[in-house]
């Protein structure tokens, strides 16, 4: 599998389709799980993942390499996902019920869940977090991403993200310790 530098080298050689193919192969699984941790639904994730790749394809000619390919791609996926959740909230798709409650229930109802009780409660606790804390917790805890990379992706200072992670970590730990 080609790394980011090789992908950009393929792209610069004029092979946009070849570079895009490598991007899909390299990022499809990572982005799938990144999005799925937010949506708690395979169907929504599939739709958002495809839309993310469409945006990558159309945005590739404008990618000036001011940021790294990795952070640019994650930024697109994260914005697509958070905007999707924001639309669900503002357009009342969740009715009068808070969106967090719906996402919380989706973990229980997910037909593709195959984990244990602790994993289930962890993913339910994550759904109770505010958007920024959820994004930071997911990227830090599951993907082991550095604060500077997250800062580039989310457009927020590394210091603020450290604080967000700290808040999220404490909330989830307390939530789990109530049960286990």
């Amino acid at each position: 599998m080609a790394d980011d530098r090789e992908i950009m080298s393929i792209y610069r050689s004029g092979d946009r389709e070849g570079a895009f193919r490598e991007i899909i192969r390299n990022y499809r699984e990572r982005l799938y799980w990144h999005i799925r941790r937010f949506t708690c639904s395979h169907e929504d994730t599939d739709d958002l993942l495809q839309e993310t790749f469409v945006k990558i394809w159309t945005g590739l000619p404008d990618f000036r390499e001011d940021s790294r390919l990795f952070t640019w791609i994650y930024r697109i996926a994260t914005n697509e996902t958070l905007n999707f959740l924001r639309r669900q909230r503002t357009h009342g798709l969740s009715g009068s019920e808070p969106l967090e409650n719906i996402l919380y229930r989706k973990v229980d109802d997910d037909p593709y869940f195959n984990g244990d009780m602790l994993q289930r409660e962890l993913h339910k606790a994550i759904q109770k977090l505010p958007p920024r804390q959820k994004a930071v917790f997911n990227m830090r805890y599951f993907e082991d991403m550095g604060y500077n990379d997250m800062a580039e992706i989310l457009g927020v200072s590394a210091g603020a993200l450290k604080a967000s992670y700290h808040h999220a970590y404490i909330k989830i730990k307390e939530e789990l310790e109530k049960i286990f």
Binding site: R21, Y32, L49, V54, Y141, F142, K162, K173
Partner: protein, 143 residues
């Protein structure tokens, strides 16, 4: 808590694995579905000539006339309301722009924060301030 001490999140490495399956062969077929979607979204929209659509039937002309009366009436009424309320351009902009925030502005996403404003300082506010002045979050736990 010291850095070496394990808690429920650090002591269970299995928690970092995703406890969800994906449908059989999902990733194998993804590339083809993405290309199909790109073709669909970038295909030029075919439109019939305007003249043919509008003048095809007298029903269209009747509907247009009724619509024009409704719009004209609505405009006259809204002018009257505007004079009463005297809304500023800024107030209108708040409503007008609410759904066209570009996806490339990550800060805009946080505008819909879940946290409600309060007159009192929360623990989170204090921690945010401490981080802002340079104290690492890990240091809070060591106290």
């Amino acid at each position: 808590m010291s850095k070496d001490e394990k808690d429920i999140l650090t002591g269970n490495e299995g928690l970092k694995k995703m406890p969800f399956r994906v449908p059989e062969g999902y990733f194998d077929g993804l590339e083809a579905r993405i290309h199909a979607r790109i073709a669909e979204e970038t295909a030029p929209v075919k439109r019939r000539p305007l003249r043919g659509r509008i003048f095809r039937s007298p029903a269209y002309l009747s509907a247009a006339a009724v619509l024009a009366i409704i719009v004209a009436g609505g405009l006259l009424m809204s002018r009257g309301d505007m004079q009463e309320d005297d809304w500023s351009e800024e107030q209108y902009a708040l409503y007008r722009d609410v759904d066209i925030i570009p996806v490339t502005e990550p800060e805009s996403i946080w505008l819909s924060s879940y946290e409600e404003t309060s007159d009192t300082l929360s623990t989170e506010d204090i921690i945010d301030y401490l981080v802002y002045i340079g104290i690492e979050p890990e240091e809070f736990d060591n106290e």
